[in-house]
Symmetry: C2
C-alpha cells in the first residue's frame, strides 16, 4: 500500500486515524497538535516481560553474583534464578490493583542504580537495548518497535503534530534509543524516574541517581506529567492498558473531542495475545467508541525488518 | 549597530558571546546546542520585587479582603497592607541562606491557588502580566523583558541552539507569556511548581493545584530539572544570582567548556543596581573568568519600546 500508514490494513481504524489527522491539520492550530504515546505495549513489545525489566534483572543478577546474601532476597533471588514468573506476575498484579510484589521489585530497582551517573546509566541502557535479544522474537530489543506505530508517529509529524512518549517506564532507560527507533528526541520522552542529585566536580558536575523514587508516571499521574513537560493538553493519546486511561481521557477537552486509540494485543502468532491489565481500558473504549487497534486485523506488518 | 545583538555595546562581553556561538555552530552537533536561561533578573526585571510576587500579593490581598481573620496573619497581612518591605526581605534573606520568612511566604502561596485549575491560573497570570504595571518602569510586566537578552535568545536560535528557561519562578506563571516575550514555548519553560492532581470529568478532566509543594527549582535542583526536561547537559547557561550557580557550572563537561554568563545589575538609572543574593555567583565568575554582563556598560538599550 502506498501513501500514509502503509503497514496498516484498510479498515475502520486506519480510516478513523486518517480522518482525524486530516481534520486536525485543517482546523487545529499547530501548537495544539500534541500527540502522546505510551511506550510498553503501545510503541514496542512488552511481553513476555517489559524490556526494562530485563535490563534491571541483568543488573540485579550481577549484584547477587557479587553478594551471596542477596541471592535469598527478592527481587535479587528472582533475578539470580531467572525466575521470570515472579517478575511478570508482579506487573500483572499491579494492573489488578495489588502492588505488594511491585513494591518489592521497585525496592530492588531503587538499589540497582543508586550512585550511578545519568551518563553511565544511558550507556548501559543503550548497550543492553542493542546487544540483548528478545527471547522469542529473534531480534535485539532496539528492533522491537511496532512498524505501524512508527508510521503513525511520522504521519502525525508530517501533519504538524509534535509527538511525545508518556510512559510508565523509566524515562532515562528509553531516552538513549527513542530518537533512532521513533524519531522522538530525549526532551520529548516523559516517564518514571528515581530521584536525581547534583554532585559538583571540576568538570561541570554530575547527576547521580539516589535510592529513592521521584515520579511513577502511571494512571492519573500521566496527565500531570504531560502538563508539566508540555504545558498543553494533548489532542491525540495512544495507549494499551489501564494505566493509560486518564491520559486517554485527558485528550478530550470542553472545546473539542480528541482521538483516543487503544492497542489490543490479539495476535499470538506474530506477537502476543493478552488483555490482562487492559480490562478497564478496553471496556471504556467500547463504551466511548474509541478506536481499538487490533494487532491481528489492523496491522499488515508488526515489526520492521530486524537489523539482526 | 547592524548584525547580531544590536542592543549590545561593543566590548569583551559581546565579543565573547559572538565568538563562543560561532565556534559552537561550527563544532558542536545541533542537538547538543542547548542554552538555559534563568528568568527573574536574567531575562526580565525582578526589582523592586519579583513580578510573580505581585501576582501572588494581589491574590493574597483578595483572600484577606474576603476573610478578615487573614488580615493579621503573614503573608496575608503584608499583602493586605501593601508591605513590600516584608516580602522583598523574605527573598533577600533566602539568598543569604535564611529561609524562615520565605517558608511563611510559600505557605501562603500554597494556599493562594489551591483548587485552581491550570487553565484558570494561566488566564489570571496572562491578565496580570498585561494589565498590572511595573511600579517605576512605567510599563506592563509583559514589557519588562530585557531587549538585549531577547536578541541573545534569537542569535542562539539562529545558530541552531534550542533555548530553555530554567527559572526558580513558577513554571505555569511564566508559560502564558514566554512565547510572546522571548519566543520560548511552554514546553521549554522549566520552573518551580506546586503539586498537581488530575480530576476526572466528562470533558477530558482537569488539572488542579494542591496545597503542597512539588518542585522548587533553585540551586542544585536546577541541573536536575534541566536533565529531567531536556535530557541533555546545556552548552550555554545564563543567570544572575547564587541560585543559578549549579546550573552555570553544569554547562561545563569533561569533554568541553561551556559558556557561562552572569548578569550584573549595576545601572540604577535605567533599571536597578544590586548584588544582594549574587555575591557567591559574582565571586565564582571572577575566579573562573566567566563573562559578566554589565547592564550599564554592555547594554546600549535595556528595554524594548513599551506598547504602553
Amino acid at each position: 500500500m502506498s501513501g500514509p500508514l502503509p503497514s496498516w490494513n484498510p479498515g475502520r481504524t486506519r480510516t478513523a486515524i486518517l480522518d482525524f489527522v486530516a481534520d486536525a491539520a485543517d482546523q487545529v492550530a499547530p501548537e495544539e497538535r500534541v500527540a502522546v504515546f505510551d511506550n510498553d505495549g503501545t510503541l514496542w513489545c512488552e511481553k513476555p516481560m517489559p524490556i526494562e525489566l530485563g535490563f534491571i534483572l541483568e543488573r540485579l543478577a550481577a549484584m547477587a553474583a557479587d553478594d551471596a546474601s542477596l541471592q535469598e532476597r527478592q527481587p535479587w533471588k528472582a533475578a539470580h534464578e531467572h525466575d521470570h514468573g515472579w517478575l511478570g506476575g508482579a506487573i500483572t498484579k499491579h494492573y489488578h490493583g495489588d502492588d505488594a510484589d511491585v513494591k518489592v521489585l521497585l525496592g530492588g530497582v531503587l538499589q540497582a542504580f543508586a550512585g550511578w551517573t545519568v551518563d553511565d546509566y544511558a550507556s548501559a541502557a543503550f548497550a543492553f537495548l542493542h546487544e540483548a535479544r528478545h527471547p522469542t522474537l529473534g531480534r535485539a530489543f532496539a528492533d522491537c518497535g511496532y512498524r505501524p506505530m512508527v508510521e503513525l508517529l511520522h504521519h502525525l509529524e508530517d501533519n504538524g503534530f509534535t509527538t511525545y512518549i508518556a510512559s510508565g517506564g523509566d524515562r532515562d532507560f528509553m531516552r538513549p534509543v527513542t530518537a533512532a527507533i521513533y524519531g522522538i528526541p530525549p526532551e520529548r520522552v516523559v516517564g518514571s524516574t528515581n530521584a536525581l542529585r547534583y554532585r559538583d566536580h571540576e568538570h561541570g558536575g554530575s547527576l547521580v541517581y539516589a535510592a529513592e523514587p521521584d515520579v511513577f508516571d502511571d494512571g492519573p499521574v500521566k496527565p500531570v506529567r504531560i502538563w508539566s513537560r508540555v504545558g498543553r493538553r494533548p489532542l491525540v493519546a495512544v495507549g494499551n492498558s489501564n494505566g493509560d486511561l486518564e491520559m486517554l481521557r485527558f485528550a478530550d477537552s470542553p472545546a473539542r473531542r480528541g482521538l483516543q486509540l487503544l492497542v489490543l494485543h490479539d495476535d499470538a502468532e506474530r506477537e502476543f495475545a493478552y488483555t490482562a491489565g487492559a480490562e478497564r481500558a478496553l471496556a471504556e473504549a467500547d463504551a466511548k467508541g474509541w478506536p481499538v487497534i487490533s494487532v491481528k486485523d489492523d496491522w499488515g506488518t508488526v515489526f520492521a525488518e530486524a537489523a539482526v
